[in-house]
């Protein structure tokens, strides 16, 4: 996995509550057996008109100023619903490596770390403020510094955020979780022996 240290990029707003994984990537795209190639269908039903091709002008993220965004801003309970890891795969494949929201659904949150993506949790008023700033500036970039656990705004102001120290460590180093767990192979074998698992 690629390490995540510092990221500077355009922030795209997605002002909705309970953005569910069915919206992030609708089921008709879950039939493929690869991990990549889902970026074009991210937010498919919102992003395109009924023909499935023409960008929907009413979908805010489609505005030219948000093209190439690598940070996504949203609200409560982001990523709820189905456990499909296609959701973070699609977000990642679109180019977004960091999400900022007020809260996340558990499974989605875990899935992010398994794909080297950083979900940041901030308080409601801070997120609200960011929505306003993004919309009132012509081009708005944030720098997310995982080492320093802070977000740097274009004006130079900073926002501190918190993250479980181990999750931070994992992202910073790009560690593969299976490899890490297998460092404890002896413990797993001992558990199996003690519980009569052959």
């Amino acid at each position: 996995m690629e390490p995540f240290k510092k990221l500077t990029g355009i922030v795209a707003p997605l002002e909705a509550l309970n953005v569910d994984t069915d919206q992030i990537i609708p089921k008709q795209f879950l039939k493929r057996i690869e991990r990549t190639g889902y970026g074009d269908v991210l937010f498919f039903d919102w992003r395109y008109l009924d023909d499935g091709k023409t960008p929907n002008p009413d979908f805010e993220m489609n505005a030219a100023r948000y093209a190439g965004a690598s940070i996504l801003l949203s609200k409560d309970n982001f990523g709820c619903g189905s456990s499909r890891e296609h959701a973070p795969w699609a977000i990642n494949d679109y180019g977004i490596r960091c999400i900022i929201a007020t809260s996340y659904a558990d499974i989605f949150y875990n899935n992010c770390f398994n794909n080297g993506m950083l979900p940041i949790t901030l308080a409601g008023d801070v997120v609200e403020q960011l929505f306003q700033e993004i919309r009132s500036a012509d081009s708005y970039e944030l720098t997310v510094d995982l080492e320093a656990l802070q977000i740097v705004k274009p004006c130079g102001g900073t926002i501190a955020f918190e993250l479980h120290p181990f999750l931070r460590e994992r992202l910073l180093n790009g560690w593969d979780q299976i490899g890490l767990t297998l460092l404890n192979e002896d413990k797993i074998s001992a558990y199996e022996k003690a519980n009569g698992i052959a």
Binding site: R32, K75, E85, N110, L180
Partner: protein
């Protein structure tokens, strides 16, 4: 010290907690289905890893399979490839796979308990959020992502943080006509779709004890819609009775010994939880969702919300959006909402008891002409067989409902069963998200009896006033 069931299962499965990291939890049972597994097997191959315990993993195909004649080849090449991939991955890694024509096939969360693969005190995972269903038997069951599927295949463990525990206690009995589905929708309506985030919920109280095992599965199934990590119900005599003669029970112990072991997982008297939520069973009415998240729910006697009456800006924003998507006016009585289609099935309500409840309503009636399609999809072949033995299929077809082959079907509309844009459906499944049952489709979640009644009346009706014909 008195412990609750979550604490007992957690402690018994804790392998190790590396300093500063999440706990490594041993996994007893791993279920796999076609949609979320291919990339995990591919990951194993790329890393040259094996499946640590193939005998602890069982696979089924359910999401993508047709509910019509299975002898005809699947027309969608992508669906077909995904199903073929599961078959060959299972063969390569030595995993038992219930192929779509196997008599044990069905929706993963229906067949686990049915086959006796899900047992009290187990840790269970599956790359599917509704894995919470298995908690009804007193197992700690988590939905996981595909990377975690790969992790479990390779290590037979899952990384977890300890959860907080929430007791959801339903005092007193439920009124007549009110089901497990209404109970859990009412709980979600009360605590909200993120109300359970970070918690494992244990359901307790008279109304829960009174529920059948099928009803308990419905409740635990939808626990994920409240955002909780898992839902649990302590095993009791009903659990033991349900498990009798299930084909995959362990063979090394007598049934009595097994039962003793199972019952020992139940929460101790006087144990504690981090939070308590209480509801009075008798206050719960039949529920109908009006919006695009399961928390947007009200009693059948209620109305859609009036935006100006909602408390905060966020609630206003999402209610407004939801009503627009659903094509509903503010303050509209639920019983004036007319449906186009009806779907009975899914891992929430595709069990035999659900079909019995729907058939009792449908008996002697015909679906309304305005309802284009009413389909009944059993959750598994076993359910289908049992329903046919009881003649339920005949009741459904006589009422103009379609009787299908088992599978996930229109719960998520990955196969050909789906809503067209703008169509409105009474569904017994678990999610009313935008487009869940087909792009532009509008889903109202209800109990099986309420769904059958809506198909007959053409609009939602209060099942408590239904004239049953016998």
């Amino acid at each position: 010290m008195a412990k609750n069931i979550y604490q007992k299962i957690w402690e018994a499965h804790l392998v190790h907690t590396p300093t500063g990291q999440d706990a490594i939890l041993y996994i007893d049972r791993h279920y796999v289905h076609e949609v979320t597994s291919a990339q995990a097997f591919e990951g194993l191959r790329l890393a040259g890893r094996k499946v640590r315990h193939p005998e602890m993993t069982f696979a089924t195909m359910d999401h993508n399979i047709p509910t019509t004649d299975r002898s005809i080849p699947i027309s969608d090449p992508l669906s077909k490839a995904q199903i073929e991939a599961l078959k060959s991955n299972c063969a390569e890694f030595g995993i038992t796979c219930f192929d779509m024509n196997d008599p044990r096939n069905g929706v993963v969360h229906i067949i686990g308990p049915e086959l006796g693969l899900t047992l009290p005190g187990m840790t269970i995972v599956c790359g599917d959020s509704h894995t919470s269903t298995h908690g009804a038997l007193g197992a700690l069951a988590h939905g996981i992502g595909t990377s975690e599927v790969e992790h479990v295949l390779a290590t037979q463990t899952l990384l977890q943080k300890p959860s907080k525990t929430m007791e959801v206690r339903i005092n007193g009995p439920l009124p007549a006509g009110v089901t497990a589905k209404d109970l859990v929708l009412a709980v979600i309506g009360k605590i909200g779709t993120a109300g359970g985030t970070g918690y494992v919920i244990e359901y307790t109280g008279e109304a829960i004890r009174d529920l059948s095992m099928e009803g308990r599965m419905t409740v635990c199934n939808m626990t994920i819609e409240a955002g909780a990590r898992a839902g649990l119900i302590s095993p009791d005599a009903k659990t033991v009775e349900y498990l009798k003669d299930r084909p995959y029970l362990p063979k090394d112990k007598s049934f009595d010994e097994l039962a003793q072991g199972w019952l020992s997982w139940a929460s101790d008297a006087g144990c504690s939880y981090d939070t308590l939520v209480e509801l009075n069973g008798l206050d719960i009415e039949p529920q109908v969702t009006w919006g695009t998240s399961p928390g947007m729910v009200t009693a059948v006697s209620g109305r859609t919300p009036v935006i100006a009456e909602l408390a905060d800006a966020n609630a206003k924003l999402s209610a407004e959006k939801a009503l627009e998507y659903m094509g509903l006016a503010e303050g509209m009585p639920i019983t004036e909402i007319a449906i186009d289609k009806m779907f009975i099935g899914s891992c929430t309500n595709g069990r035999i008891e659900d079909l019995r409840a729907a058939a009792a309503v449908a008996k002697g009636y015909k679906k309304a002409d305005s309802v284009k399609l009413a389909m009944v999809v059993p959750g598994s072949y076993e359910v289908k067989k049992q329903a046919e033995a009881e003649g339920l299929d005949k009741v459904f077809t006589a009422a103009g409902f379609e009787w299908r082959e088992p599978g996930c079907s229109m719960c998520l509309a990955m196969n050909d069963d789906r809503l067209e844009p703008g169509e409105r459906c009474a569904a017994t499944s678990n999610r009313n998200f935008e487009g869940r049952q087909g792009k532009g489709g509008r889903t109202h979640l209800v109990s099986p009896a309420m769904a059958a009644a809506a198909a007959i009346a053409g609009t939602f009706v209060d099942i408590r006033a239904w004239a049953y014909k016998d």
